[in-house]
Symmetry: D2
Subunit: 387 residues, 4 copies
């Protein structure tokens, strides 16, 4: 996580990123801020507070002289999963906290913005700048989560509210495959730019001959899978995937609605007719894998993906790989609370590579390792095939 960004650049970036978080929420109503329809979705208010608390907890309260906490209680509300920094409300109860109010949380943001700007106006050590950088990367991750969560909150109400946003998928156009030549390749982050600990440890991986699609699977192609009975053919599914399909009565991607006029799809612009040319989205790993089985192909490994990445046109949707999320050789988790960021999730999760339309600019790298459990699909996920 070595960073060499200059202090004025960091300060400018700080103010821009903080502003962008609020821009995402600009068209929300007060009622939209506190709700938590399922445990894995956090209320928008919570994201606004949590990203702010991160700077207060790890930077201001440690390094700024005479700094006064905005509120003694806020750590309790806005800690996510850092066991090392104390007690916190249960995740499932986030949606029950009507106080602090949304207005107070916005005041909290203003307070921290002011104090951190002031702090960055004087000289600070590179180590602290690195922490600020992590805080910004962290807030950008939550900007993406905010989009997922708002979409879930809106997409699970009969009113199907609309968000004011320019984020939108584009059609996939090509059907070509890229060839990767068998051999030893270097995997992992190079250079001095920011990256997370899980990308570090440049190492060699031997890759066998393979081909990888230049495009994502489209809604139209996925519809064929559905119509061919994909969701009722157990031979296409992992055992756990088949259980998931059966227990949850899954019959289509998330946000698809079967109507008498054909499938409709909830998007951030409301409920729309299914556009067959767009990439299929909100797909679980189980579905991606079953689709690949049906096509008699497979999902790429994260190593194949990384090697191919320079020639891939990615960035619409996070792409499921068939790689489990595991440490690279020589992986070292960071010391202290920051060490809880990545390593403790390296079991039961699968790697996603690429980026999505909800990913903030400058928050995407070919070596970026995103990860989710195989049944999740509220994230902006898609399918790329290999063979």
């Amino acid at each position: 996580m070595e960073v060499l960004t200059s202090q004025p650049t960091i300060k400018k970036k700080f103010l821009e990123i903080r502003k962008h978080t609020e821009a995402i929420c600009s068209s929300l109503q007060k009622d939209d801020f506190s709700v938590q329809p399922v445990a894995f979705v956090s209320p928008p208010k919570w994201h606004l507070g949590h990203t702010t608390w991160f700077f207060e907890q790890f930077v201001l309260s440690v390094y700024k002289e005479d700094y006064t906490l905005f509120s003694e209680d806020f750590a309790f509300y806005f800690n996510s999963y850092y066991n090392n920094v104390g007690e916190r409300i249960l995740r499932v109860n986030r949606g029950n906290m009507t106080r602090p109010t949304t207005d107070e949380v916005y005041k909290y943001r203003t307070y921290i913005n002011h104090h951190l700007s002031e702090f960055l106006s004087n000289d600070v050590d590179q180590g602290i700048l690195d922490l600020v950088e992590i805080g910004l990367q962290h807030e950008q991750q939550h900007q993406e989560l905010l989009m997922y969560d708002i979409k879930y909150i809106f997409g699970n109400q009969p009113a199907f509210p609309v968000l004011d946003t320019t984020v939108e998928l584009k059609p996939e156009t090509t059907h070509d495959y890229l060839t990767i030549k068998e051999g030893l390749y270097e995997i992992g982050h190079k250079g001095k730019d920011f990256c997370f600990d899980n990308e570090q440890g440049l190492h060699k991986v031997y890759i066998h001959n393979c081909e990888i699609s230049k495009s994502l699977v489209t809604n139209g192609e996925y519809l064929e899978f559905i119509e061919a009975g994909g969701y009722s053919n157990f031979n296409l599914w992992h055992a756990d995937g088949w259980d998931w399909v059966q227990n949850n009565n899954i019959q289509a991607p998330m946000y698809w609605h079967r109507t008498e006029q054909g499938y409709k799809q909830y998007t951030l612009k409301g409920l729309k007719d299914l556009n067959k040319g767009l990439p299929v989205s909100h797909i679980s790993f189980y579905e991606a894998w079953a689709f690949a089985e049906w096509k008699e192909m497979r999902l790429p490994t994260e190593f194949e993906w990384e090697v191919a990445s320079k020639q891939l046109n990615y960035g619409q949707l996070w792409e499921w790989t068939n790689s489990a999320y595991l440490p690279y050789p020589k992986y070292q988790k960071a010391e202290g609370a920051i060490g809880e960021y990545n390593g403790k999730f390296m079991v039961n999760t699968m790697v996603m590579r690429g980026a999505s339309i909800a990913t903030p600019k400058d928050h995407s790298r070919p070596t970026y390792r995103n990860f989710f459990t195989p049944e999740t699909r509220w994230q902006f996920s898609g399918i790329r095939l290999a063979k």
Copy 2:
């Protein structure tokens, strides 16, 4: 449910009661309106909408000429449990509906107030006035539920917010017992005033000699029960009660907090030191029964209570009786959707008699039969003993 209130009186009452509902919510923040911490608690916004929908559904849309629904969708949001009048959102999802917004719900209230006032300015049939009367009784019931739900929402947050209200318990002063003489008594509602179907059917009940306390059990007395190990002595409990204690690790009434400085109790005025002179509140039937066992007494039956009621000083807290909620002889449930009001709950519930400080004025009668499942205690409940 025969009613002989005059039309001008009804109209005046309508406007007063509608206003009172909003008065209860006057000190809430926007964030407080949409939350549903447990399935049995409804968001305040929902109560505001549901009581309004009742008038639209059962009066305006049926009887007012050329009436235009405020919104086609609102029946879906604000129907509670009337299977006869169509689909509705699952109860557990009420807290996930960020739309309609609280602002829209207030507009809905204004719209219905306007139309119903207008409607009542012209002559209407007695049958319709009766429906309006039921709607008012219904809204008064929800005023009480609003108090329960706001208290639950506030009392289960670390911030322990305060509600602006004059509702407050008073100390219990007497320790006397009242004697009821063995014999045949008449039970049920007499006269022409409003009552629910479950109170009707005046009938004879033979009552055996008994004595009934003139006062409610106090926090101080209940504390003795706790300190004597009441919550760990299975002999005092129903089998189901003991399971409830064990499975939920119950050790005190709801809203009590054990601290190093002794017990504190959340009240609508915030977290306070336990006041031993006040009646013990937020007690389940299981706890009331176990306490009575420990005292080697018992809870009165609802018939004993009704016979004694003229001489009782009640109205602080709803009082658990040892009567299951069952139909009176000759009970007839009302026709149509209104028939779902009472009869279908006549199993697995116990009768509570009296009224509470949260009960609206004029919404209390000696024959009133309230009912709850035996483990509930978020309602304003208390204990009166008999022997």
Copy 3:
């Protein structure tokens, strides 16, 4: 629970009843003895041991000089719900205890039979004879439970095994109603014969005019209810009953199987065509109540039933009443562990009156109060209507 049976009679009765328990199990295979398909069903082996332990725990180990326990461990295995006499295995784990083996349990029975016979050969106090009497009543109750549990174990396997038994339902023949005249009646057990504590406390109940059917509802009549859509008409059901129907997808009585050749019914003689003339059996309280609603009648109260009992032809199936199981005025629960027998179940249960074909001879009285939660139906239950 006053008893005046002579000692020789008791001893004879003891040996007969003990033998009868084993006779019920005579056609079971070893594999049938240890299984517990759901928590409320106990393995036959457990019934054999538990009824035996009752005599050891409450009689021999207390009153017989120099008595040596068969095994120190057996109390742990064979205590059911007597918190007062120590630790026991969790009910749900009864089916996991492969040891003691069935052979050992039979040895245990022989051992206790021998010691209790020997004990009863010498003069013992009336108080002890009373305890033996309770033990016999208890074993008779378990004889009936054994039939329920064996039927459940067999009826939920694809092999549908057959039990060697003479227990069999007979057709219902009459369609008459009996009239009860309004007035004060005495309810409760009279005389010196054995009864349970819940029947005691002779007291007056005022009964209003009613009619009560002389026969039970038949399979044929119940089939009409099904075919008229009874299971999909929410207006006929309690709210809790409707939830139960929906959550468990209930569409017919327990042990009915819809086939292309019409309904079949599992009986202890195997899977048979539905016999329309037999009384409908394995019915929950919810179903009994919904059926009565559909017929525009009601279930009798337990008091009406008791008053009518002399003129009723009962004993085929336990009959649901619309009375919740509550203490009679002046109810006193027994001292000590025996006090856990009845009183602690007096909430959330409904009273059944009569007896069933599985009830042992001499274990039936007009004042007998059986009780079950409203959704249970593995017991031999049926419907009698009133109006």
Copy 4:
């Protein structure tokens, strides 16, 4: 799965392996055969039937002329998870099937043994011999599962029954580490002997420098981890592992019992004092990983393990690796029902390598890939460290 074993050898092996399964069960009581204390444990009777059904389903009923099924119903009882070959009882209900009886299952075994022996007395195609070989490998896997399940059934009863067996752990003696030199290695099964599809596809893997322990972690070493607070230090655990510890209140390996005289451990020889020199067993992946964290080491990957295997003294306990169970490059699952054997489990599981004392002779290979979900620990599992 290419096999070149001669037909007489196969036949001899068939009879030996079938006999060995029954030998494992020779000291069981009838009561022990039908029980299923948790869903993942199958009744011994079921293993006896299922392994037999495999030969009937995939060999005799397909290839033996005029073969008559032992019973039409048995496929329903004894199919495990082969969706391709029809309906089957729910796994959780295996323990509720009292019929067929254990006696009948033994008759089934005799019947199949007779018919398959007869079948193998005449010339059969190599393809069929391969199927028989798979059936034998399959039965050997179930021999090991039988040991796990019997241990679970016995170890979760207060009687702690003893199994007559020679299977026993030996102390670990060395503390040395083996060095693996960085470079490209070949991974996967070579040669003509039997192996499963998941081992096939010889391919190159680049391995970085590492050291791997020559011995397993002992009870003594693990006890130090416990005493150092390992189970209460969240920093040592995966997030999912920590949830597992908290939700299940895990404080020691499975079968350890904390007593006033120190830890005891249930073994197949009964409850014994903890032997510190023996390898720690019945360890989940989460525990293995946390222990490695505490030691500031790590678990080996399955590739490191395979490369080191020639120099490892393994075979006491299956060893957790830090490799997720994923397909090798060019993995092809078998056609038809046999294809359900492995591939569909390649998500959410971790690879175990080696073998255990419960593994049948000749059922162990350096390339063998066993796999379990990370919380399971009823299998004979242990820990080997790497750095």
